[in-house]
Symmetry: C2
Subunit: 756 residues, 2 copies
């Protein structure tokens, strides 16, 4: 078995070398390149890939199973007959769902034709494409008017582009099956006008740096590659020639349409990805954008290898896959940064593409195979074959996610995202740039996870994607009035206003700045960052550490938020916990009637359920969720109060979840250092009804030093042992030596922090 | 392998026969019986069982694994040393938890001594027992005063009894290891006074029909069996001789202490179990009571076979295990009828006992083996061996839960519980008696499940069992003010008062009455019952059907609640759904401030979030939970209104969950027939973001006939097909012939209902 595989590997390598050499080292006249690329399929599935796959069929379980499943689905579709309805609905509605299904069916039927060599699939693709041809030439703009760029098959150009990205692949697969006349008919009446509509006719959609445009670029480029149309390929790579858009115009989401004049696929790689591969809108949209990035790149790699697309910007496309996989929790669910819908995960089909392509075109990381195995499907193409063979040959290893710091911004200089991982605890700390039109106003916010469960949640977006009953499946107005506002996040809100006054133009000009990130010590993982622009005149420096301390059952989170201002303010500091209140060490009064906490900036959506005055140096709050115990210990003074809040006020259509929060509020403070520890501890079994370690292990938390240069915290365990954590608020580089006197004792160390 | 097993089976059979014959057919003088029963262990583990087990060790995986796990735990305990602290805490506190742990440790160490024949375990048990002996003789009543019957080791006699039930087994296991003097010391200073304290000194606990007493009886009886003390055995079986208690006194939970003067283990079998094996307090407490019932019965079977305890009351103990297993959802979680804590399941160790005993002493139902396999552990005794051998020999079959009707009451004449199962849908319909002191005021209420997930929930109890921070782990006051009240349940509340005015004395005198139960037709499962006493002058007849109709994706629920009264009333009819509101076909207005819906009877705990007037014949309400869609279609008129409520008002310690409800309210009605259909339909994937079948399939719901004798409902699907359901409101026996004219058409049938 192994020998056989080695042989194939060698064969593939030899063929690949020959092929590469042919294209790279010799100068071929244009006409000859055209001849080569006439050899369809060539885009995703290649002629050589088809040969290899056919030779392996029946011997590669995960590939065979995926194929069998796809075959079953497509056979059922063929049985059911073709439906190409006149466009009518928004997302979730019948015509939308049908056309969306058709693009999948077409692409898969095309693959089946090539892999199984059965004409019935080619015929089916041809017939459906002809129905689209007949329909498309009659179509006006889609009747629904809500989009800033209406499509023809769908209410938005975005979905039209999705369609073309997939259908290009189908067309490529049956290209040689069609007569020249048939191809001519489809290209003239369907593909070219389709490509023109989503680009030339919709520049506000196409000509920008945005995930929507990436789909548009890929759509135009992929059909261009199949049709061998250099003009379309150039339009895809570089944008619409000689077109300039209004730099101040905005889209539906409030994002600038094209502030910098950049456009085209390469600009879309250049701009949103940091050198670490972080995508500026966050993982949810990265996942969405990933597919066109990678599938078009794969097509370019196959048809235009001279572009070396996978090496573009130091190989950022493949790096971005690694970043994206790291932006998921223990269950593989992406952290819902910015407008992210919870539950989206690396089981999404776009990630099958990403993982397979990353494995095949990258360095065959065996960790990717374990994810591919969990995904339990592969692409039915060359890369899927490589993955299936890797799994078959038992090469997979666990994909170990570690603490990671991902820079943001095209050059990696606009803040970033730090993920601290320590045993089962994961902290996601956001000190990034605005995140384009899908960004939230949540500088220095965080969310906390344990084994894939949310401990302190980020709300995510206010939207039910593709559920028609909720605003047509689109963004709900509460996304703007609630989800994007600062108070909806686990960070400081000053004077009940959001960061940058929730002004996109202002927020887009700024980003937070890393103080330091340290993950070398596996027991002490720290990230620290500063924000100076969210509230002019106020600076926030947040240092978050996940510490595995032998005196505690599990790693705990230390959270130090140092706010300094040139004027007195009110600071609100929420904890979006889940579950039920267990105990507090302060007395609270519940309200008889529930009213909104404020009238704007998100406060109108919070009910005040109870309030309390802080009455000791350490305020403690325990809660219970999913049969686990959690305790917040936070340093307070008599000026502090607690608000028990619940989301859901002023929500006339029940669009928001009724989730709780505890808000620590300080009024009339210039400088305030919030210092907290969050412990996860113990467990409860409803079956044995036993509660284990249900109490906090912290006896005392104390700030022993807080200067411009250092903040130092004592954490005393109930067994009496005390640990000291000192963070350098500036000059925090690894090399710097520090010397601090606390309570007449000298502490000296090199590096960003001290812990002992 | 099989032959070997057959041989063992034959051997066991032969031995059993010999043993049975010896005890049943011959009349042995008392002294000889005493000699036989001196052969320790004899109680749960028997001398013969020990031999058999030792012979099989290493060959019976599930038994071996359980043994290895227990050994590891007990070895760690021995390593850690003995702790017998002076009693101090409530449930969840240190001394409580430690003594609780000790009883388990003692029992398991005893078993290990017998099975592994290693003296270290006997020594450990002996040493700990001696420490208990030293401590116990010094103990006053437990210092915590909250219980109606205080223990000595624990704050309540109940827990003292738990201790003795387990520790009797440990004592039996090391009986022969101890010297006569040692036994004498333990029996004189520990076991006998212990047994006396929980019985003679605590008659309010011991002398009644209640799960607490069952523990007490079993404790006294089991130590009596080990000590061969006939007086204790008699006290266990028949109660404290010649003692009569105040018939009107009540316990902590409001239950009568001893209304009828019945007491003892046999009375505790007689009274609470119906002939079908339903336990009147519901499955949560049955699970709790099960262990002493079965373990004492096993001991009696072994030591006093002449009592034929497993045949008592037509074998009700074994029947009750079958009933209990059927009172669980698809995940094995018990339905939270009455005071049931959610999450309790047949994975509880009491159910390991139940399943193993039922298999061994019952008819070796292979379905039980599949549950035992899921439980992944067996008893380390004769019955556990039988189960382990059954599994080893591949005898297990799936335990198929079907629709079942379980009568309530000692004679099965006090209403009951009907469970309708149809594919993944499970309906639990309660038309039982009060359910003793743990009963709720919820006549004709129901809860609805899909694959083990709650669709329409029953709240369960208001308690965090053994979580000390919440009221010491005991019942919270909201259990009485909320959880027991009628409005907390999915049934009709009249004039904002609970059934029987929430008076236990009144409720205890009544029960609902079955109209009919029909489960022969697998597509149409129906239960119908009547309640005439909850509100004097008002009758409620509820008919619930789970129907698998080819025009629908999944089985749906038809719910017909026919209320007739001799005076006009307000009726509230809630649906305790979970998740988020998707859509309604009526307009609702959300409230700016949230106030309690009422001031008493549970209404003080509901916030009113929104209200609406019904404005069409069919009101529709869709919601979304756990990625599934649900729609309620209910018949309304212009007199009806909807209230969107949420639990949590007047809850000063956040003891209640913030769960939602939709309440249909009719004012000023004498007669009202609520007719509803609840559909579960479609699904949503947050990974593929596709919504499937997200809309109701019901176009129209219409009552076409509603008389004293019949109610008939038309259900029209969106594809236009109409089904007719007619239920006989009286004379509903299977044999009765019916003839009804509806819209000039005659319908004739025999039986309880018509569906076509």
């Amino acid at each position: 078995m192994k020998n056989q595989f080695s042989f194939i590997l060698i064969l593939v390598f030899v063929l690949f070398t020959i092929y590469s050499c042919k294209n790279e080292s010799t100068s071929i006249p244009d006409s000859e390149i055209i001849n080569t690329s006439q050899e369809h399929p060539k885009l995703i599935l290649t002629a050589q890939g088809v040969k290899d796959i056919r030779a392996q069929l029946g011997k590669i379980p995960i590939f065979d199973n995926t194929l069998a499943k796809v075959k079953e689905e497509i056979d059922a579709e063929i049985e059911a007959g073709i439906e190409v309805p006149i466009p009518k609905d928004y997302s979730g509605g019948y015509t939308h769902v049908r056309h969306k299904r058709n693009w999948v069916v077409l692409q898969q039927a095309g693959l089946l034709y090539q892999i199984l060599d059965d004409e019935k699939y080619a015929k089916y693709v041809k017939n459906m494409l002809m129905q689209y041809e007949a329909l498309y030439k009659t179509l006006p703009l889609h009747p629904k008017t809500r989009s800033y760029a209406r499509g023809k098959l769908f209410w938005q150009c975005l979905n039209d582009s999705n369609w073309l990205v997939y259908v290009s692949q189908a067309y490529d697969c049956i290209y040689n099956y069609l007569s020249k006349e048939e191809r001519n008919k489809l290209e003239t009446n369907l593909f070219r006008p389709f490509a023109d509509h989503i680009s030339i006719d919709s520049p506000q959609f196409y000509q920008r740096v945005h995930n929507h445009s990436t789909w548009g670029n890929a759509a135009v480029g992929m059909i261009g590659l199949v049709m061998d149309d250099q003009e379309l390929i150039d339009r895809a790579l570089y944008g619409i020639k000689d077109l300039k858009l209004d730099a101040k115009a905005k889209d539906d989401d409030g994002g600038f349409l094209n502030k910098d004049g950049k456009a085209g696929f390469l600009a879309n790689i250049e701009e949103p990805f940091s050198p670490d591969g972080y995508y500026n809108e966050g993982p949810y949209y990265q996942r969405y954008a990933m597919y066109p990035f990678l599938i078009f790149a794969e097509g370019l790699h196959n048809v235009k290898p001279e572009l070396k697309i996978f090496e573009y910007k130091e190989g950022v496309l493949l790096k971005s896959i690694n970043a994206l996989l790291n932006l998921s929790d223990a269950d593989g669910d992406f952290f819902p940064l910015n407008d992210g819908q919870k539950g989206m995960s690396y089981y999404n089909s776009a990630l099958v593409t990403a993982v397979d392509i990353s494995y095949h075109y990258g360095n065959q990381d065996p960790g990717l195979l374990s994810i591919a195995k969990e995904q339990n499907q592969v692409l039915l193409d060359d890369s899927g074959l490589a993955v299936a063979l890797g799994i078959k040959n038992g090469k997979e290893e666990p994909f170990n996610k570690k603490s990671i710091n991902l820079s943001d911004g095209p050059k990696g200089t606009q803040g970033g995202i730090a993920i601290l991982r320590n045993q089962d605890i994961e902290l996601v700390f956001k000190y990034a740039a605005q995140g384009s039109s899908h960004g939230h106003y949540d500088k220095l916010s965080y969310s906390l996870y344990e084994r894939g469960e949310e401990v302190i949640q980020d709300y995510g977006l206010a939207r039910f994607v593709n559920i028609e009953q909720k605003g047509g499946g689109n963004y709900l107005k509460e996304n703007k009035t609630w989800a994007k506002q600062t108070i909806a996040h686990n960070t400081v809100t000053q004077n009940e206003t959001s960061h940058f006054n929730a002004k996109y133009e202002v927020g887009s000009q700024h980003h937070s700045v890393l103080n330091y990130f340290s993950s070398e010590n596996k027991n002490v993982q720290v990230a620290s960052a500063k924000e100076s622009n969210a509230y002019p005149g106020t600076e926030m420096l947040r240092t978050m550490a996940v510490i595995n301390d032998e005196d505690f059952e599990k790693p705990y989170l230390i959270d130090i938020m140092k706010v300094t201002s040139d004027s007195p303010n009110q600071y609100d500091y929420p904890f979006y916990y889940f579950g039920q209140v267990l105990q507090t060490n302060f007395e609270y009064q519940t309200k008889e009637t529930l009213k909104a906490l404020g009238s704007k900036n998100g406060y109108q959506h919070l009910y005040l359920e109870a309030s309390a005055k802080a009455n000791s140096d350490n305020s403690k709050f325990s809660w219970f969720n999913n049969n686990k115990f959690y305790t917040l210990t936070t340093i307070t003074n008599s000026n502090d109060e607690f608000l028990f809040a619940r989301i859901g006020a002023n929500d006339p259509e029940f669009n928001l979840r009724r989730d709780p929060a505890l808000i620590l509020r300080t009024k009339n403070s210039k400088d305030k250092t919030f210092v907290s520890v969050i412990e996860s501890h113990g467990s409860y079994s409803p079956v044995s009804e036993s509660a284990i370690n249900s109490n906090s292990s912290i006896k005392d938390l104390e700030v022993v030093l807080d200067t411009e240069a250092y903040t130092a915290v004592h954490i005393t365990n109930i067994n009496g042992s005390t640990k000291l954590f000192i963070t350098a608020n500036k000059n925090a580089s690894t090399e710097t030596s520090h010397s601090v006197k606390i309570n007449d004792k000298n502490y000296e160390w090199s590096g960003s922090y001290y812990f002992n």
